[in-house]
């Protein structure tokens, strides 16, 4: 692709981003029905584009898993199983409709079961991570571990009956240092997000639109 064409393509992309961004922002602030209409229209376009990208995801899965099955890569039977499930689910959904009892039962009885299995597994991941984190190696890790123990007391009624003040300490920690730290993080994160948006609009955020430099 020639440099001029790449440049034009990048600028068209940036103009679309700027117009859409301002259109949606205006819909949030202004009461005008026209502005609201434009904002709604842009949201609808966003939904349409997102729906189309779902097909991109499907194509990616078919392309990757298909290659894996043909080449008999590691775990290819699982990839085959996944593709068979996708192929069965799509016509099944089209035929019965996604709100049909049969579809919902089949979907939930597989999805919820697997979801709960993963949630159950989290405790094992969590335990090994906690073991590494709360090893006392310095004064700072000792303080961290002490605070964690106080929090455990808060959530263990049996232990709180022996150490009733632990609850007060835990609530003080939650309502003062934790709350102020969390709010500072939210405020700074919000401002950081706005500045990131402005950098994208100015073309100085290389990640999202990384073809050219700034305007």
């Amino acid at each position: 692709m020639s440099t001029t064409l790449a440049y034009i393509r990048a600028y068209i992309g940036r103009i679309v981003v700027v117009v859409c961004c301002l259109g949606i922002l205006a819909g949030y602030y202004f009461t005008s029905p026209t502005v609201g209409g434009v904002s709604d229209e842009l949201y609808t376009w966003n939904m349409c584009i997102s729906s189309f990208t779902l097909f991109v995801g499907l194509i990616t899965i078919f392309s990757r898993y298909g290659r894996s099955i043909i080449n008999r890569d590691t775990n290819w039977p699982f990839h085959l199983y996944c593709l068979v499930l996708i192929i069965i689910w799509i016509p099944f959904g089209f035929h019965y409709g996604i709100y049909a009892d049969l579809y919902q039962t089949a979907y939930l009885s597989t999805k919820i079961t697997l979801h709960i299995a993963i949630l159950g597994l989290l405790i094992f991941f969590m335990t090994s991570a906690l073991y590494r984190t709360f090893r006392i190696r310095s004064l700072r890790t000792a303080v961290l571990t002490f605070l964690a123990v106080v929090m455990i007391f808060l959530n263990a009624p049996y232990l709180r009956s022996y150490f009733p003040t632990a609850g007060d300490i835990a609530y003080w920690l939650l309502n003062n240092p934790q709350m102020s730290g969390a709010r500072a993080m939210v405020l700074c994160g919000g401002i950081g997000g706005i500045i990131l948006g402005i950098r994208i609009l100015l073309g100085h955020e290389k990640g999202a639109l990384r073809v050219t430099g700034g305007m």
Partner: protein
Amino acid sequence: MLAVNYVTEMIYQGRAFQLSFLILVGILTYISYYITKRGKEWTIRPIEALDAIDEGVGRAAETGRPILVLPGISGLGSAQTLAGLTVFGEIAQRAVEIGITPYLITSSTDVVTASEAIIRQTLEAVGKPELYQPGRYIKWYGSGQFVYAVGAAGHIMQEKPAFVSAIGYFLADVIVTMETATRVGSLIVGGTTDQSATPLMAMLSDYLLIGEEMYAASAVLTKDNVAAGTLAAEDLIKVILLILMVVGCLAWAVGSRYIYNLMGV
């Protein structure tokens, strides 16, 4: 007075202050941008987690193992995802230049499209466009939170990446992915602004980006002076907010709700 009433009617109740603040942020950012364009040099304090990205890429180069980027479970509408994609762009460029494969796993289909564009542009920029294949670098295992986590964990077990960057919007899924990455000996840089996931990140990652540090990634990694200038504007806005908070608290203490009402809380 009539003009004020007209403007008040034009803007949704409680959002006038937000709009004014947004305009102020825009103006301050543009001023810093303008100052930078006129030759002002900015220095950014060292951010350990962002410096660790070079260490991670170096480790991948030494071991010959790939790099994995996780931009989280949100779509392109989230600023955190955009920050994650920025880091992906920079990491991908460093990786492909030295022949390391960068992977990205996302749960959102719109991020798949954007990431494919980023990796294609990166390969073109480093003069290796022939390496581009759709679906080779960007993986999508499903849109559910734990579907994503399990898919990413499986990928980590299979590829054993030397470096994992988890910058974006995460929830409890981060436990599965990052603990698996720890098991295979990956260097992990984590970053999120979500309050519930930050403690998990702190527990599971080797280096952590707290709060707005993740949004400063591109300025630090690219050493772009103009991007650094926008960070200076960000600091100025924080000072203004701090003054507003102090004045608001003092006003509240003496019985005035002016600042409180002005903000439309």
